[in-house]
Symmetry: C2
Subunit: 493 residues, 2 copies
């Protein structure tokens, strides 16, 4: 156990520094005034370098080698394997590259905050070129070590075990029936009437309703907060989860479901097992599984007829100055399941969302594999948007390739997780329904059995099993698109 | 220059980690939910240890030795001397003690937040005993190295060059005439009428007025924020200064001047020279000089007749639902210069404040020198409060020795800085008046010449000179109580 214990102590030290990084990262997005950026970027780059140095400390190789002879329980073996996976992912990247990428990402993200509003693609490129170059270098190095293509090597950071051959198949399948299904649904919905008004929904009231919904979804406010940032995210640490949203006073719909979405991420974090706190095995399994939880909350729970029936009177109570007819349950359900192709991924509905992801997946795959240049992005974006969603983004960078933060930060390989998450979520719901009377739980707002199932099958398992094991233990089969397809057909047709 | 440059790079690294510590410390006080405390304390202790390790790195001794032969400009020599002073202050304390004190302080402070409200001295002692023990160990170790008494060794951290012999003299002088002056002023004020009401001043309106006053005092909101915490402070970093206040809806007076006070601290930080950012020579000179700036803003500017004349209409504009007669300039000035002995130091007026400091000074001096136990504090507190201010705190811990955060964190030796600051501020004002038409600047609200004087004489000099040099360059003489006494007599008699 001696070497294993040394590793445990070492990874808890890393976790402490990561804690500071998470909180200061949240602060930079939600609290920091613009003039603080330069000093903060330098401090964060220093911390990032320090974490990298700890993660690649020379003694680790020996400890990992010797720990193989330690007598370990099955849990400890899984814990060791996760430490080793993180170590291997980290050791391959040189320190200078880590520091340079962190600085470039920070600079690019900071400038993006004003450039996006100005639709300033040329200005953005001045910083973005460096982010792409450094990310390509990273992908190249990772690919050489793992024997994967550069892009698959990046994918492996976020969604271990998934490669572009599989994604080409799954996403190819999805995009083969989704546009037609979408068209059918739009036609069906066009024949129905939805009551909407052109009113103002105050930020204060949206916030109060959001907080009430978070309580209902059992977000633990003793271990977390809700704030505002230009791009909503879930940050912080499991003991103190920081979620953010943004409010649009002309539209209560998006912000509220945004809060439900981030609450799903947050409950996963808050529900991770305390006995493994600070260890890789105690962390969320993967980005796809993380997204499965946020999408379970948003799509499987939040937009269900049963939940909306209960949401309706709450919304009516909060928006006292607004037209109450909007909040009739049947009408609210129609609003929340309205399908309409649009530019913005985070505002996209359940049916059109996968097209946004597949578009990005195809671009980032070819960008990391060196088949295209970052300069080609706007044209490819426009082309694919037209093809998948019938919309043009020509000259409209701010609603096109500058709309979100992922590439800005160099997080190439992350996007597929969103649609994998949607498919996992549908499969979890199908499995849960065998054990739990979900309809009744939603109808009566007694959500405890739902959260208990998620806690037992997902949250408490953290990274104890591989993604494949986790999914088949929870649902009895490996990931397949069938549950997602029947979920969509049931809800929308 | 080789060794000097190595030191510069090393101290900039330390500064980057201190940046993260400041922001996460601010977050813990102003943002963090209670349940986040344990994980945060561990992360902060780890960071504190890391900063301590950097500050005591073995190579520093050799670099400092060799740097003496580097060819350095006068500025660089001063920079080297400040790095060396910090190094010497730090190297003397063992790492284990640093970590233990940080953990104990964090734990004690966190529990204090609820214990204070509960008046729970016994519960507080369970954590406080450890903080005192570890601080006494620290004082002992520092004293042995420097040849000072344990308490003087602690004083030296915050107010270098000042010792308890001097303080016994200065504070002995002050306390010899202050109670009588206070009595005279109270009698004079009793004969005057002040118009006050029993109204509610909303937090929102207090906050809006506070923000307007901060803008007027040229707080740079691009490099800072105002938030709420239970104990007001000025934190963050020079590029991103975080000040906090607390609001009492039954009283707009304290929160507003609290904001003016913290704005003084903030402008000193925001005004430090950029060319020395991240280096010890570029930091604020001492706690006493820091306090001189906050008290200059609060007492010399904020409570002056000229400033209040201009504040009055602003207050009237913000508190639209409140009785406007309160805000008549003459009346507002009376409110802001009202003298009344009270329990709470941070709420104390200018005349009674020094008694609070002298009381704490006498207790902490004897506590660190081992002449009394922490258990004796409530009785001594009660005794001295009766003697200096005519008030008893028997059984009232929350308004007595549990009222503030300094000892909770183990910051023994800090309190004298407050009254030294008040004396420096009065001396700076007297000197400034030789160069600047202060009356006219306040009257016309054209404050730029005042800020220029402070910037030239204090802010831009950072730690380039010793406190003694700084004060005599700015005022033409060493610190003496004469300016403070005549300031008080002019204002109050």
């Amino acid at each position: 156990m001696e070497n294993y214990n040394k590793l445990v102590e070492h990874y808890k030290t890393i976790s402490n520094f990561s804690h500071l990084s998470s909180i200061c990262g949240w602060d930079a997005a939600a609290m920091m005034p613009s003039g603080g950026n330069q000093a903060r970027s330098e401090a964060m780059a220093q911390l990032s370098l320090h974490i990298h140095q700890l993660s690649t400390a020379p003694q680790l190789e020996e400890w990992f080698e010797k720990a193989q002879s330690d007598e370990l329980s099955a849990d400890q073996q899984a814990s060791l394997a996760e430490m080793k996976r993180q170590w291997q992912l980290t050791t391959v990247v040189p320190e200078d590259l880590v520091k340079a990428k962190s600085l470039a990402g920070s600079k690019c993200e900071h400038a993006w905050r004003t450039q996006r509003g100005d639709n300033d693609w040329q200005g953005f490129c001045k910083n973005f070129e460096e982010v792409v170059n450094l990310s390509q270098q990273e992908a190249q190095i990772r690919g050489e070590q793992s024997g994967l293509t550069p892009y698959d090597a990046m994918l492996d950071i976020y969604e271990p075990g998934v490669n572009s051959e599989q994604l080409d198949n799954i996403f190819g399948d999805l995009i083969s029936w989704l546009p037609e299904l979408t068209q059918q649904v739009i036609e069906k919905q066009n024949a129905e009437s939805v009551y909407v008004t052109n009113e103002n929904y105050s930020t204060t009231e949206q916030n109060a309703l959001g907080m009430e919904i978070m309580k209902l979804l059992e977000f633990d406010f003793n271990h977390g907060r809700l704030d505002i940032s230009s791009h909503p995210f879930c940050g912080g640490v499991p003991q103190d989860v920081r979620i953010t949203t943004r409010y649009d006073e002309s539209d209560f719909v998006q912000s509220l479901m945004g809060i439900v979405h981030e609450t799903g991420h947050a409950r996963y974090e808050q529900g991770l097992p305390k006995q493994w706190a600070g260890l890789p095995v105690g962390q969320a399994r993967s980005m796809g599984i993380h997204e499965s939880q946020s999408l379970f909350f948003e799509m499987q729970l939040g937009r269900s007829a049963g939940f909306i029936k209960n949401l309706a009177p709450l919304a009516k109570n909060h928006f006292t100055g607004n037209d109450a007819r909007v909040f009739e349950p049947g009408n609210l359900e129609k609003i929340y399941t309205r399908v309409q192709p649009g530019y913005i991924r985070v505002d996209a509905d359940e049916l059109t969302y996968p097209a946004h992801v597949i578009l990005r997946y195809e671009i980032e795959r070819d960008l990391m594999n060196g088949k295209i240049s970052y300069k080609d992005i706007p044209e490819l974006w426009d082309q694919k948007m037209k093809q998948y969603l019938g919309l043009s983004t020509e000259g409209n960078y701010k609603d096109g390739c500058m709309q979100d933060i992922h590439w800005t930060d160099g997080a190439f390989g992350y996007f597929p997780s969103y649609t994998l998450g949607a498919m996992y979520a549908a499969q979890f719901m199908a499995a849960m329904k065998k054990d739990v009377d979900v309809e009744n739980a939603l109808d009566s707002l007694e959500l405890a059995p739902i959260f208990t199932w998620l806690s037992d099958n997902i949250w408490q398992k953290a990274s104890r099993f591989t993604t494949g094991e986790l999914v088949s233990q929870a649902t009895g089969s490996q990931l397949n698109a069938a549950c997602f397809r029947s979920h969509l057909e049931n809800r929308y047709l």
